[in-house]
Each structure stands twice: as C-alpha cells, then as structure tokens.
Symmetry: C2
C-alpha cells in the first residue's frame, strides 16, 4: 500500500492557508493499472494454488495476535538461485564464467594449454565440456576462481557480467531473472522478511551482483565458499587470497549446514527447484512449529524458458534435476510446486 506523503504541521507555518487549500483539493484518481498493482503484490502470478499459498503464508505470519504470527526478527526466507531466481540452462552461469576465464588462465600458465580438461575448455565445445567428469570440472573451477585476491575476483566477475551474453536470449545473464520471483522477494521484504540467497553457486560470485539484481546485500548471500588466506598486497594493503580449500559445499545437506553457519535461524519459508534444495526445504518445513512454506519451481515452460524434470515426464537434462522422488516428497510434505507455464503470466522483467 502506498501512502500519499503529506507535509507535516511544521510545513503549515506561514503557508497555512495554502497548505489547507492543497489538502482540500481532491487527489487525482490513480489509473486502473496503478490500482491493480497496489492491490496485487504479485501481478505476474496467475491466480492458483501457488499464488494463494504465498498470499496466505504472508498474511498469517504477519497477523499480529494471530495463532501463526511470526515475530519480525524470526522472519527468514531462503531462496535458491539457479533455476529458482534466474535461468540455469543450458549451463550454470558460473560455469560459463569459469570456462570464459580459461584462456586468461592458460595465458598465465601456458603449460596448461595442451592438458585436459583445459584443452577441451579452450576448444569452446560446450557439449564436450558438459560431458567432462566432475573432477575435471572442479579443476577448471579451482584454476579460474582461486589464487587471486577477493577484490581481483570481484572485478573479473563484474567485467564478465558486463559483456557476456546468454546464447539463447542474447542478453546479459543478470537480465535473465524471473519477474514473478522478484515480486516474491519484494513482497516478503515489504512484510518484514529478511530474504537470503542460499545457493550451490559460489558465494563470492553471487555477492557481486545480488544487491543490484535481487536487492539482497552480500551478508545475506549464503553460497558454496572456499577459504581465504590473509596477507598484504604489494602496496601494503591487507588482502584475502582465494584458496582452493572448500569450507562449505552449499548443496543438498550443505544448505541447512550453510543456513545454520551463516544465519543461525531456521527459515520460515524456502524456495528451490531441484534435488539440491530438498534438504533446505525439509529443514525449513518438517516438524517445525508455526507456519512454514516450501515451494519448488517446476520448469515446464519450454517455449518461454526451458523444460526439464525428469518429474512429470519432462526431459532429464542433468542440470537442476527435478526428480520424480522430489515431486513425490513435495506431495508428502505439503510443498507447493510452481508451474512456470501455468502460474507465471510472464517470466522475465523485459517481456512485454
């Protein structure tokens, strides 16, 4: 609800009569579209079970004196990123970033040029890269994301984000965020919820743009995190160097662990889209007192975005798997499955 800003009594002062005249003049009626927006905090959502669950959850948890009221300091909502807040196909954005960095790494260390997995990565054959074993992919991640200072890494990410384009949409990756989820983030925050990203992606990577893109500050981004080493740079400035030492693998059971480590409270609402989010939704919703909300985004809008499962007969694309077992657990636990196709009027902010 937007309140009309009115001048305080102090502003009356000498201009009292003018002030009263202004107050007496009727405010122009807002346009029908503006009225709709004011009435509906989730304008990109179609009416249905998902939208209803969101509205109902916020209503009961903010209803002072109601039986399911949650005090403001306990209002924590956690959001997976890849496939939940933005596109994760055909490949996780951060993996694309790492692959794009391989030439720079090889330039510094030419001995890697003819060695696998760097040779394949240099070829630019994404299909071949997608088939690399996890061990090889990890070697690329380590080579492209560690060994530099935190600030150098942040600068690399910023520069890449400014120029890289998604192969299908031909837009910067940061424009491939889901408008309906931006509305959920805003709606929850407007109702006193602290919104956190809890991502399998790199914490340092996501923090670079999360504030600008999602309105989520760095201290509210929980992600896969490596250790850093303290020292001084050549100018005598204290600096942290990113090390190939994993502190938190923020996926699967690592998500509740990360939530405890970084937030220290059990969320009241959690949003995901894949088997990597299962434990986070369990930790949030199962046998905890009070209102709890678990939601899973199902990618069933092939024409507008992507379609993958393999739940509900959708193709199994290996990236961001929504398994049959996850779908069954959702039913059992009372988690709401969001159908991108039916629940979302539009997917991207730039859609007409």
């Amino acid at each position: 609800m937007r309140r009309v800003r009115r001048p305080g009594l102090a502003a009356c002062g000498l201009g009292l009569l003018i002030g009263l005249a202004v107050a007496a003049r009727p405010t122009p009626a807002p346009s029908a579209a503006a009225q709709d927006r004011a009435a509906d905090p989730l304008p990109s959502w179609n009416d249905g079970a998902a939208k209803k669950a969101l509205l109902e959850f916020v209503k009961v948890t903010t209803d002072t004196g109601g039986p399911r009221f949650v005090p403001p300091e306990k209002r924590v909502a956690t959001f997976d990123q890849d496939g939940t807040l933005w596109v994760s196909h055909p490949m996780y954005t951060q993996v694309v970033f790492c692959l794009d960095r391989v030439p720079a790494v090889v330039k510094e260390k030419p001995e890697l040029k003819d060695r696998e997995p760097f040779k394949t990565a240099l070829n630019g054959d994404l299909a071949a890269v997608a088939k690399l074993p996890m061990k090889d992919l990890e070697e690329i991640l380590v080579a492209t994301m560690t060994g530099m200072s935190v600030e150098q890494f942040q600068a690399e990410v910023r520069e890449w984000l400014a120029t890289a384009r998604h192969p299908r949409y031909r837009r910067p990756y940061t424009e491939l965020v889901y408008q309906p989820m931006l509305e959920v983030l805003k709606y929850f925050r407007a109702n006193g919820y602290k919104t956190y990203i809890v991502t399998g992606g790199g914490q340092d990577f996501v923090r670079v743009y999360a504030e600008r893109v999602y309105g989520i500050p760095p201290e509210q981004v929980v992600g896969t995190a490596g250790g850093t080493k303290y020292g001084f740079d050549k100018d005598g400035r204290p600096t942290l160097t990113k090390e190939p030492r994993l502190l938190l693998n923020d996926n699967f059971a690592g998500k509740p662990e990360g939530i405890h480590l970084m937030i220290g409270r059990r969320p009241h609402a959690a949003f995901g889209n894949s088997t990597g989010d299962r434990e986070m939704l369990e930790y949030t919703t199962v046998k905890n007192p009070g209102a709890r909300l678990g939601m899973l985004v199902l990618h069933d809008a092939a024409e507008r975005e992507y379609a993958y499962g393999p739940a509900r007969g959708l193709p199994d694309t290996q990236v961001g798997t929504f398994s049959v077992a996850l779908d069954e657990e959702a039913k059992e636990r009372g988690w709401t499955v969001i159908s991108m196709k039916s629940d979302w009027k539009r997917i991207f902010p730039w859609e007409p």
Copy 2:
C-alpha cells in the same frame, strides 16, 4: 538527535484549531538528567581521546554530503567479545562452560574418568586446567561441544548461563558486560551501523545470548565454527549434529577470513583488546578509502576489573594478551587505545 514528532497535516482536519493550539503550547522542559542522556550518547565515557574518536567517527561517516560519508548499507562495525564486550578473566567464559560440562560427559562415557585431560578437569583445579597444553584443552572442547544437536547444545548453554556465577563478581556471566561498550553498540546502531560480534569464541555459544545481552541477532555473530551433519532425529525432525570438524578458527588471521565469509564487506570500525584482534583491525583500517576506526580496550583497571598486558608494564596473564608489539602497531596505525581506568566512568551496568 531526537526529533519531536509532529502530527501530519491530515491530523489537522477538523481539529485544526486544537492542533495549532497544541503546537503553539510550549513542550515541558526535559529534566536535567534526560537532557544529559539526550546530549551524550556515551554517558559512561570520560572525556578524552577515545570518546572524541568515537563521536568524531560517527559524525563524519553519517554526515550526508560530507567527504567521509559512508552510505548506510556499508556501515559495518565489528566487535570482539572476550575482553572487549565482557570479562574474559580469570578464564574465557566458554572454557568455564566446557569444564563445567565435563562431569556430564564423563557420566555418559565413564571410560574418560581416569583419562587425561578429563581427570584434571574433574578435579576442579582451575590452576591445573589453565596449565593444560592446547591439545588437551581442545580435547575437552570437542568432547563437551560436539556430538549433540544444535538445539540440544543451545539448551545446555541456556541452562548453564542461568545458574553459573563468576567466581569474583558472584553474578551471572551475562551481567559482566561493559556498560561503556553497550553504549557504543547502541550509539552505532542508532546511527545506521550494523553491529557484528567477531569472536574467537564459539559461534553457537555466543549466539545463544547475544541478542538478549548485546542486541545482536544470531546472524550477526561471527565466531569459531565447526561443521554440522544433517539428519533426522528420532521424531523425524530434520536436525544438525555438531561435528568435531573445524570450519573457521575465528582468531588472528581467521577474523578477516570470517568477516569475508559471513559479512562480505570490509568493516569501517573494529574493536578488540588482544593480539587475536590485530588482523581484524588491520583489515578494517589499513589503506582502505574513507573513514576507518580501530580501537583496542586496555585492561588497566585492576581494582574494578583486571589488569593485563604485558604492554605498558601490565602483568602478562596469558589470557587475552595485549602485547608490547600490539601497542606499538596501534601507535603506527592510528588505532585508539581505550584505557578502562581513565576512559570509563563505570565498567558494569549494575555499578552504582
């Protein structure tokens, strides 16, 4: 600065004349004591370099349009706990907690009874315990703080805090907080700073009482942290079990690492009292643009609290060492040393 709340123009409406009459009537003068409090956000501080540094820092960093203004989202201040916010002598509070838990642990595992270091710990001879090598102390910490669920551990801490008393002051440990530092926390928050604890103590331990005692919520407590293991308890509730696996040793160089991991921003102000805080103060203040504040509490008030250094000829008590080298670095870096004796009018909230 407190602004008098005035009714908006809307409140004029029909009661306009009454409203104006109320506005015209002089407000009763506040009592002298209330005026002092309003005028001085740090009433337990004597005038001097330390108080001046605090007031000046907050003034310039919140002066919109001024050259050293810090935007609200970047206002981060970090505080060590032991010896900075509360008493850490004769022994770190958390170590006392662990020692007090040894009998319960031995009851569950009787085979530990005649084994060191548990035998010494069971004797209750604190002097002997203090002389235990670090390896032995760690064994006690692991035995008393891991293997249970996070919630069980929190319940143990709460129960202990309710009954344990400090040997000298005969008060609960949570009453042994420094009133001048509570004023600093409040003053910083009132000026838009997010206040964080960054402690070598256990994150899970400090989070139990930090909100109640310091007004600092769990998500703003960074501390030494171990891993947890996700699973289900016997009632089918998802649970995290504390494991003897160190994720972050939040001391010395671990403090900047912890700040990056959990906050992701370089602080503008940092407060400590010992060599374990050196790197945090460097990371905060050295060669960073804008206003930066580093402060160290010197324990030189033997009669009212404790006296230890060995800087400035104070006794070397091994707990919370303020070394000669730290004192020299403070001079070189422009860190302000707070003398408990001279800078603080009173130390504890309950002092007359």
